[in-house]
Point group: none
Chain length 188, copies 4
DNA sequence: GATGAATGAGTGTTCATTCAT
DNA sequence: TATGAATGAACACTCATTCAT
């Protein structure tokens, strides 16, 4: 593994556990087995390390999201798949996912920043996916009548809640959430 | 309002929006209309400002939790009350509540720290309250059969998810969550 | 003498002898008997130390220039006075004067910068004073016919040449320049 | 043009406009279309780039100076020739000439350094040339009686003043200086 | 209770320079 | 010749904190 990769890996772990402001370039360099100036050879600065990590995390995340589209599933199965995908992602890349749902440091939080745009894009896509499932499911009487907007919000809270648990997230929890959702969403 | 209160208020807002590490003592002093040395007259340091805020937040929080105990309610009503209480709290003290559910800065995150202990205590109490409701409800056939542990986790995620929204949290969302829970928990 | 004054004095000497880029904040602090952070308590940064020095140098310089206006002197005496004033200034404040005529560091050299504006203002005033003397002297036949613009340039070169010598500047040199000018300017 | 020449050219321009301390090896490499390690292939370091430029500038300068010696000119013509030569040099090599008369960076300014020695040598030669002209001219009654030393200083100031103007230097100015000198030096 | 002045330790970053190829 | 990768030393600057009043 190249030193640049070491840096990215070390920074990802530290940012995920200590936050952006709580992590120093010295810590990153040490954990990566590199020196501080090397960080500045590969990146323009601490900001760009963080930003570039978040960009690649979102890229991979979005590529996974795309695999969900289509299929002959029921709407509930589509929602179930979304939850299972997120569990899979948090299991395989806990640091990356925690970083993705962690609140941005103030200085990188303006709406024009790439990180914010990616985060917004993620929310938009998830909401689109979920509200689409809900609307179709309601229309076809697969689901009970319910407020689409607020139910979408609720599902988002649950997804991000799972991601926030990081490596501690358990399959049992996701199964339980899914079965709870089935009872509340799917019409008898 | 005394200058000490100004400091507490300013620090609460800044910590809630920028995090502990992203907030400087200079910012706190300026926002409070005070000077930095005055912070050190009223507190032993930045850590203690943060800690003391979290302690008093938890104190008030716990005192509210206590009001919930007892009554002749059904178990679902007790759960509903818990959600409604949290919505009320986040509406009235958004910064405080956000601070309470925000992940601790690395340096104040060891298990022996008062903040961590309060956070653990909060989780324990909430879990106790919720799992108690669930168990009783299941026993009395008010609720469906379900895994107590995972369902408790789910409810915790929903509660903290609401709190994390800060001032943006809406009553409609809480209502929606409650009605969703009713369908999934309460037996037909 | 206050520490702030020490800083200004130390910085003036160092900037005059080593240039802006060749002087470090550490050097300034050490020479001033202070610590680096104190520089930042009294000034916003290295730039402002430099800038504020140059501003006050120009202020004092301009106040001296004003004392020259008026009088019943011949035009040549007015020019002579200007040279003698500059010799007096360089004798009393060699560092300050050297700093004033030294070329600006690239980063503080854009025309909108206060330093540049002061320098421009200085040139303008000197040129105005000198060309005024020359024009009047020519009109009244005190002076030979000569190109005002280029002669002004020449006198400016001589003045700044004297200033550039710093503490090494000698009265004899100025006297010699003045007598040389008399022969070349004043009509027989 | 070889890359080494590119480096020299780029460094000359940058040193002339930004000074030694204000110029980085990175800037030189970029402007030369080279990489930093290449600088160290051709030179031992930044110091040597600067030093070698100054050496070759002085070499060429001295070779020009030599062409002035001899001839059947009057002493004033010899002085005039010196001024015209310098105007020619600054017109053709503004960066090099500016670099030559610019004050040395502190770290290369000790008297044993080649740069300082060249600079001293230049001053010595110019002074020798000029004072020689003056003395002879005075002896032969071509010139007025005047202090040789101070007049030499004055002529040096004028020459370096012209060089300092870099590419902005105008022929008209030199002509004006020469005619001014004629009036003051040459006896009636 | 309150502050202007001051600081040790550290921050992110850049510098001239070197190494391996 | 030429360069991508790497570094020790230093840089300007900020941090939480303290002192004297």
């Amino acid at each position: 593994m190249s030193k640049k990769d070491n840096i990215i890996k070390a920074a990802t772990q530290l940012f995920a556990t200590q936050g952006f402001d709580g992590t120093t370039t010295k810590q990153i360099a040490e954990k990566a087995g590199a020196t501080e100036p090397l960080l500045y050879y590969h990146f323009t600065g601490k900001d760009e390390i963080y930003t570039s990590i978040l960009i690649s995390v979102h890229e991979e995340y979005f590529s996974h999201l795309k695999t969900l589209q289509g299929g002959t599933d029921t709407q509930f199965e589509r929602i179930e798949n979304l939850f299972k995908l997120h569990f899979q992602l948090i299991s395989q890349n806990p640091d990356e996912m925690v970083l993705m749902v962690t609140s941005r440091p103030a200085k990188l939080n303006d709406p024009e920043n790439v990180c914010s745009k990616n985060a917004q894009s993620r929310i938009k896509r998830l909401r689109y996916y979920l509200s689409n499932c809900l609307k179709k499911g309601i229309k076809s009487n697969e689901f009970n009548k319910l407020r689409t907007k607020e139910t979408t919000d609720t599902l988002m809270i649950l997804i991000d809640g799972i991601l926030q648990q990081g490596a501690k997230a358990k399959k049992k929890l996701v199964d339980s959430i899914v079965s709870l959702l089935q009872k509340s969403l799917v019409a008898k």
